[in-house]
Amino acid sequence: MEGGEKPELIVNGKRLDGRDFGELRSLKIEAEVLKNADGSAYVEWGNNKIIAAVYGPKEALPKHISDPDRAIIKCRYSMAPFSSLEEHGRTGPNRRATEISKVTKEVFENVILLDRFPGSEIDIFIEVLQSDGGTRAAGITAAAVALVNAGIPMSDVPYAVSAGKVGDKIILDLNKIEDNYSDADIPIAISPRTGNVLLLQMDGSLTKEEFKQAFNMAKEAGKTISELQKSALVDPYRKLAEKYKV
């Protein structure tokens, strides 16, 4: 929890930005935004603006890190120095960025079919241009779209979202101020096809029942997110096919 006075996060049964407890922020996903990358995606999630780029599979370098049985993933999450007004806005591989890079990599190790490209590496870059809480979830959602755009074989397209607790209320998709002053905050990444949980972290504390409620809320929201991920990938193709329909 941050220092200073704790602000009132729920006013008249609504959250500070006027959302309901289980409501997502506005979400816009676009695929193939970078020409030079093998795959890319841009996500606007509330005030978060995130670009994800994917390169590879290519030869794993340096050679000693390569695995002769499977591809390896390198993931770099980074915040632009101008992405936030506060302390999050330091760029480069700081402690927090290193942690998020690691957990993101582990999410994708579970869905990418790594054994199809032995000895190679897949690079995932997540750049946060503007941040407003929940950037690791938004980054995973964007990177999943970028990976599909790169044509990398995957068993599923995962999504991520955060849930949390303010007072006795469970809320979904925390923004920065809620994130800083909430009683609990859980980013969750799920593989929608199997329902496998790929990422689960928790700040603060929840009872078992509260956790179940938060988890179900995230799973419910995941349907919307998955739908948007799919339309970001499919719509450009569908539009062109409609245009030249015979």
Partner: protein, 205 residues
């Protein structure tokens, strides 16, 4: 129109084994963004990564010359290799070569055969999933491109197209358009119109 599917989407409740599917029990799922033809059970990838297969033609660049072999860059995680004993020509670093995949060894090196140099010209990189469309059914699209632009064009399944001579800029434009519209109907006709209207001397295609 065929159904556009994303990775993890259920294709059929029967096993369909192909390069881009995942079979779990009796269920088949897609692993890449692709078009699925329900009737034939065929999956055509829209985005994919090149995987070398025996007999395919590739276009590579000589990266390094060694005592009895050449290392070839194939724009992929797979490294190419030409053994001097299988090649009559000698290559230099930077040469563009057209070759056929012989086999893939246990270190994931693609052994190449029938290598020959392509002199001059330029290379453009294309998504490997769009290459079949550039070639067309029984080479129709490729022949049409070569006639319409008077260029010589070589297509490598690893996602490289080599163009030399003729109206190379028109050929590039047409190939990039094919890449963009690969999944649409009536593309051959549109490219024909485009080539006829732009090739200056009114060459019939």
């Amino acid at each position: 129109m065929d159904r556009i599917v994303i990775p993890g989407e259920l294709l059929a409740e029967r096993p369909i084994r192909s390069e881009n599917t995942l079979v779990e029990g009796n269920m088949t799922y897609a692993t890449v963004l692709s078009l699925f033809d329900e009737a034939k059970g065929v999956l055509i990838p829209l985005e994919s990564v090149w995987y070398p297969k025996h007999g395919e033609t590739v276009i590579g660049i000589i990266e390094e010359t060694r005592l009895n072999s050449y290392n070839v860059d194939l724009n992929s995680s797979f490294k190419g290799m030409i053994l001097s004993k299988f090649s009559e020509t000698r290559f230099a670093q930077g040469d563009i070569v057209e070759a056929v995949v012989r086999d893939i060894d246990e270190t994931k090196t693609v052994m190449l055969m029938h290598a020959r140099s392509l002199y001059g010209g330029k290379i453009i990189d294309i998504k490997p999933s769009k290459i079949p469309r550039i070639i067309g059914r029984e080479n129709t699209m490729l022949n049409q491109l070569m006639q319409g632009t008077m260029s010589s064009i070589k297509v490598g399944t690893n996602g490289r197209v080599w163009i030399k001579g003729g109206d190379a800029s028109l050929a590039t434009e047409a190939i990039l358009r094919i890449q963009e519209e690969a999944h649409t109907a009536g593309l051959t006709e549109r490219i024909k119109t485009m080539l006829e209207s732009k090739n200056g001397n009114g060459n019939k295609v």
